[in-house]
């Protein structure tokens, strides 16, 4: 005794429309990336034609017509130095924060996680303003001068008279800005370490620190490295606060020599000069060229970070019998 069910006919045309619109929406992402790379490449073409690979190694930065000469090396180095310093300061702190939050009782870990995420949402210009009016002076009086007085004569990285607007200040501000990102992701990853792993360590009589050393760090290593690289990605691309604090040197003097000397990063030179760069000269192509390098570096960093983080989060429970 079968009952007649009034199935409607499948409406194929609407299905097709849906499929096409979904594809369009999906391909948007790809199209934008390709367009940006294409645009940056074609706009910067004149500078590559003029300087070739010397654009990557040169240090002159002269926009005067007739004597134009551009090299991005100081800014590439400036980015690498500030980002590395920010990592050296920020990563251990972030891991510590994540360890604390992952172990803290609920009434602490909940609010703290939210606060950390709020910190990540503070606009970069706010950090910049705070940096230039408050932080700079504090750094100068309490950190830079003491370091200079003690080590200035012997250690080259502390050798120039501090000014407050320099590579060191910019790096510390960067560290502050990447800490929320790294600690939020690290926390996620530490929580994803299976409880059984942590209990195995406790069962052996581990203290909390030993539990981290025995169960969490080895298991979460790739994920934590990924989290750090995610922070690196942010440090490399960060513009506003850095531009306000780094002192904005150009040309050969922008080569990072001492931490207390003004410098320049790839993003800060673009932010500083795009407004005065004439499209007719080589100045604009040079800036766009710097932008292209920056984009490629940032893409590589982010791809690596995402692979590491997602691999870690995917393993979760499965690792035992994998």
């Amino acid at each position: 005794m079968s009952r007649q069910i009034p199935f409607s006919k499948r409406r194929l045309p609407t299905d097709k429309i849906f499929k096409i619109s979904a594809m369009v929406a999906g391909s948007y992402v790809l199209v934008i990336i390709v367009l940006i790379v294409f645009q940056l490449s074609s706009e910067s073409y004149p500078i590559w034609q003029r300087e070739g690979l010397a654009f990557l190694t040169g240090s002159d930065w002269n926009a005067v017509e007739g004597r134009e000469s551009f090299g991005a090396a100081p800014y590439i180095l400036g980015t690498l130095v500030t980002a590395s310093l920010a990592m050296i300061i920020g990563v251990p702190l972030s891991i510590g924060i994540a360890m604390f939050i992952s172990q803290a009782p609920k009434y602490l870990s909940g609010p703290l996680s939210i606060l950390i995420e709020l910190l990540a949402a503070v606009p970069s210009i706010i950090y910049g303003l705070w940096g230039i009016f408050v932080f700079r002076q504090v750094m100068l009086d309490w950190v830079e001068y003491p370091l200079y007085e003690v080590f200035g004569d012997n250690v080259w990285i502390f050798s120039s008279a501090p000014f407050g607007l320099d590579i060191f200040s910019a790096s510390v501000i960067l560290a502050i800005m990447i800490i929320p990102t790294i600690s939020a992701v690290s926390r996620e990853i530490m929580i994803a370490v299976p409880q059984q792993q942590k209990e195995a360590a406790y069962m052996l009589g581990a203290t909390k620190w030993e539990m981290f050393r025995l169960a969490v760090f080895p298991y979460a290593k790739t994920g934590l490295i990924g989290a750090a690289i995610l922070g690196l990605g942010r440090a490399v691309g960060e513009t506003m606060a850095v531009t306000m604090l780094i002192g904005n040197a150009t040309g050969p003097s922008a080569f990072p020599q001492s931490l207390f000397q003004p410098g320049q990063t790839m993003s800060s030179i673009i932010a500083n000069e795009f407004i005065e760069a004439s499209p007719a000269s080589l100045h604009l192509p040079a800036l766009v060229g710097v932008g292209l390098i920056l984009l490629l570096v940032a893409i590589c960093i982010n791809v690596v970070a995402h692979i590491l983080v997602s691999r870690m989060l995917k393993v979760r429970e499965g690792a035992i019998n994998a």
Partner: protein, 271 residues
């Protein structure tokens, strides 16, 4: 301390007579998750060098109770334990007691094999020793070998001690975890359904291991498998909805249970 020990000896339990001492005693233990009482006022005594099974339907609190015995609940954020748990007469939950010290005496094997995945077989077994400051390679080698032998997995792994632990089969991993627990020379071994994730052959090996270990250790095992309880244990406790319903020699629990619930459960009529 001696006085205390005597007191405990005197808490008579007619059905558990033998000259063996009580290694571990749980007195009026209750466990709460938030406000839910998962274990209700359970009192049990465990003889040294014996195997005790905890059986009962899912959710009866047997695993929860087991985890009290080495303070594993300390890490569960919403769990609260009441009562006393005595190991050789000393209360594990006394204010001045460091849980770490006791966990080293009360080893645990978990439901799913949980070797440290990034470590080799050798390092897994040595982990607890290194944690306790053993650095001498000779001593490490010796204890690792002894522990793996005691856990009946030595013959299968002796040629690849450097191999990552996760490359072993599930049954081997579980015996490796037993070896890891044994390496720090615990006095009591807790096992939470140690064979539930394993196939029959691996299960049989684990059971043989348990029987052998009972010559030296006090073993408390949670199991869903009643045949397993019969095969491996000297004593069996039946729990239901957080209450300890009946606790007796295994033979008596399964042949002449005093309580009707126990009788129904061991006959497979519910649970």
């Amino acid at each position: 301390m001696d006085g205390k020990q005597d007191d405990i000896e005197n808490i008579g339990d007619d059905h558990l007579d033998s000259e063996k001492k009580y290694k571990m005693i749980a007195e009026n233990v209750s466990v709460f998750y938030d406000d839910v009482e998962a274990v209700k006022n359970v009192t049990m005594k465990f003889k040294e060098r014996s195997v005790t099974s905890l059986i009962g339907p899912s959710g009866c609190g047997k695993t929860t109770f087991l985890r009290c015995l080495n303070r594993m609940h300390d890490m569960t954020k919403n769990a609260r334990v009441q009562g006393r748990i005595l190991l050789d007469g000393e209360d594990l939950y006394a204010k001045d007691k460091d849980p770490i010290y006791h966990r080293r005496k009360v080893g645990m094997v978990f439901q799913k094999p949980n070797p440290f995945p990034t470590m080799s077989i050798y390092d897994n077994v040595a982990a607890g020793l290194r944690l306790n400051g053993v650095k001498d390679r000779r001593i490490l080698d010796e204890i690792v070998e002894d522990s793996l032998k005691m856990a009946y997995v030595w013959d299968e792994v002796k040629n690849n001690l450097k191999k990552p632990a996760i490359e072993l089969s599930g049954g081997q991993q579980q015996r490796l975890c037993i070896a890891r627990a044994l390496a720090i020379q615990p006095e009591v071994l807790l096992m939470d359904e140690p064979a539930s994730a394993l196939d029959p052959i691996a299960t049989q090996k684990i059971e043989e291991t348990i029987t052998e270990l009972a010559r030296e250790f006090t073993i408390i095992i949670v199991t869903h498998n009643m045949q397993q309880a019969v095969r491996v244990s000297d004593y069996t406790a039946f729990m239901y909805l957080g209450d300890l319903i009946e606790f007796n020699e295994t033979k008596k629990i399964f042949t002449q249970p005093k309580n009707e619930l126990t009788s129904k459960y061991v006959k497979g009529q519910f649970g």
